[in-house]
Amino acid sequence: MNIAELRLAGFKSFVDSVRAPIEPGLTGVVGPNGCGKSNLLEAVRWVMGATSAKSMRADDMDSVIFAGSAARPAREHAEVTLVLKDARGRAGAPFADDDVLEVSRRIRRGLGSTYRINGKDVRAKDVQLLFADASTGANSPALVRQGQVSELIAAKPENRRRILEEAA
């Protein structure tokens, strides 16, 4: 399974629709402080079913919806999609024969999150399991947040041991 594209609309500072193909190898992401780079990683973790608002620098899940800027009003919903390829069998029925899976999470202000695979409603659990079975997911040790290396260095040994549990 490959993760081939990330799409955002209304997620944090990405109020306008953005499509980011993710190609093989190393893709650099650059830009000034505060322009939105870390928001991209948070979008990936969020669509994979992250449950902790705190872990994405948000007071609550509604805080990931575009909150407005000097020139634009706040939005009422946010949506992030991951496009998975070579994904046959990764999701259960009715997706068992689909080679391409479009997994999306959408949140409406005050109404919580809904999840879809290829346009059909699914449970959060289905999405979380799909990614966990593919050795990834919101808590994947391969998703290294800004400052997480420093946290690992400063962590108490008992908390550091948890990184092994992710490998187990």
Partner: protein, 162 residues
């Protein structure tokens, strides 16, 4: 539970020792499970010895040495169970030029060993010149993010003169 954790520890420790000595071009390092007979309650301690220096715990190393060592641990875990996607958010920030170069060579090695797709968020011109393509994130309008493809040749020219 306990047996799986110990098996994970063995694999990750073996990876970690190899990655550390590759990154530091010598020296030695190991992970130790401490403070408890029960591995499920134990702590994970990191011992490391850069070339020519004394073996100490991670907390006594320099900022850049700590970051490079912790990065070796993160990749040691990664190799035990490679993910289809890996995103690294500014992990190269505390590294000097020589260590950024070693970090980039580590990424090339990970690229060869796995089919993982990597997103490397960075402010470092050396890293920018060592990736296969670049996305630029900008705010042409204050508070609103946009994504563009950046010409890699230009980034490499800038890094070459730096």
């Amino acid at each position: 539970g306990r047996r799986r954790l110990l098996a994970a520890y063995e694999t990750v420790n073996a990876n970690f020792t190899k990655l550390f000595t590759a990154l530091f071009e010598g020296g030695a390092a190991e992970l130790t499970l401490t403070q408890s007979d029960d591995p499920l309650a134990a702590g994970l301690e990191i011992m490391a010895q850069p070339p020519g220096k004394k073996l100490t715990t991670l907390s006594l190393m320099s900022g850049g040495e700590q970051a490079l060592t912790a990065t070796a641990l993160i990749f040691a875990v990664f190799l035990a169970n490679p993910a289809p996607i890996c995103v690294l958010d500014e992990v190269d920030a505390p590294l000097d030029d020589a260590n950024v170069d070693r970090f980039c060579r580590l990424l090339d090695e990970m690229k060869k060993l796995t089919s993982t797709r990597f997103l490397v968020i960075t402010h470092n011109p050396v890293t920018m010149s060592r990736v296969d393509r670049l996305y630029g994130v900008t705010m042409p309008e204050l508070g609103v993010s946009q994504l563009v493809s950046v010409d890699l040749t230009r980034a490499r020219q800038l890094a070459a003169t730096a």
